[in-house]
Symmetry: C2
Subunit: 217 residues, 2 copies
């Protein structure tokens, strides 16, 4: 199989390159497989969701899944990749922007809240703790989340230096905010009363001024 493919790519193409061999619905169907799997993973966990579950939810049988995907791990990898793109953008945007530290933090909070509030986000947070998928992949995402916390910590520290944030332990502040954000995946319900942007906004307010009433005017 491997040699066939590489031969096809190099000298005498067994299959003409430009010739579309798959129906246009292929990509859509593949996407449906991944989206459905993400929903189930997020509801029941990776290990507790069988390929038959996914197939049943799509009204097909297991071999059909395998027509669109190599194996179960690949499905999870796709789910994670989908949310990870959003998260790296959040990190980039927050750290590159020309703002003071506190504004960067608030941008981070707002946009992370939106990025994580999806089935893919729930899926990532869930499977990064409990094992899921290949070991190397898992480590990559664990490392990724850790780096996200570090970025948050660093922009908190920046805010302390530039005076926009009151002196505190940047590491703890980052952990607290990051935890609040990731925990959204445990309770957020798309059909519930508040949407991700409102959640982010309310979190920003809390982290900015705290619970205690301010006397200042």
């Amino acid at each position: 199989m491997e040699s066939e493919e590489s031969r096809g790519q190099s000298a005498t193409p067994l299959w003409r390159p430009g010739r579309r061999r798959r129906a246009p619905a292929y990509d859509i169907k593949r996407e449906a497989v991944i989206a459905t799997a993400a929903r189930l993973f997020q509801e029941k966990g990776y290990r507790n969701t069988t390929l038959n579950d996914i197939a049943a939810a799509l009204n097909v049988t297991k071999p059909t899944i395998y027509y669109y995907v190599q194996n179960k791990d690949e499905i999870l990898a796709e789910c994670r990749a989908r949310v990870w793109g959003g998260i790296t953008k959040v990190i980039q945007a927050a750290s590159d922007s020309r703002k003071n530290g506190r504004e960067k933090v608030e941008l981070f909070v707002r946009s992370y809240a939106e990025a994580i509030s999806t089935d893919y986000g729930k899926c990532l947070v869930m499977t990064v703790r409990d094992v899921g998928g290949a070991e190397a992949e898992l480590r990559k995402y664990r490392q990724g989340l850790r780096e996200a916390t570090h970025v948050l910590r660093d922009i908190v520290a920046e805010g302390i230096r530039d005076g926009s944030i009151a002196p505190c332990d940047p590491r703890m502040a980052a952990f607290a905010m990051y935890g609040a954000l990731n925990w959204i995946t445990y309770w957020y319900d798309p059909d519930g009363p508040s949407n991700p942007s409102e959640i982010g906004e309310e979190f920003v307010r809390l982290f900015r001024t705290g619970l205690k009433p301010r006397l200042e005017r």
Copy 2:
């Protein structure tokens, strides 16, 4: 076999009942099984930890585990029960105390941080999301955590009424703080630089006054 036993129980007991031979190490060993399992569950997840893993960590074989425990689910149940006691005490203490709303919140944060920072705590948080153990048990603890959030929300609302907390959305504030607390289980390392009580203290400070510098004196 049955008739022998019933005969033995009724008229002339062939074996005196109640004559329990002592097994002093039994309880200790059972505890070791549960503690070891908790450590492994917390590291690798419930489903990803096999009974052979637990046995190997104790230098015994699988049937030995079954000498101390009915089945795998029971181990998880024991782990959860061990942390749940602490959590209910936190809830009780926080809501019953004669303090204003904000002080109650701060008590909750401090003591919850300590209660959750154990292998058992990590185990609970981990397995309450992904499935683990009997379905009914799982629902019970999910419900329990939800109630904990509600208590937190209610004492925030109380604080708003008594003026110790600035007006805000109590539900969101509760979710944020509760998330920060539960997320401790994702990153806390007993060998790390800060202990649970310091973590709780720093969280309290953040939630009380927020990041923004206060001008008031």
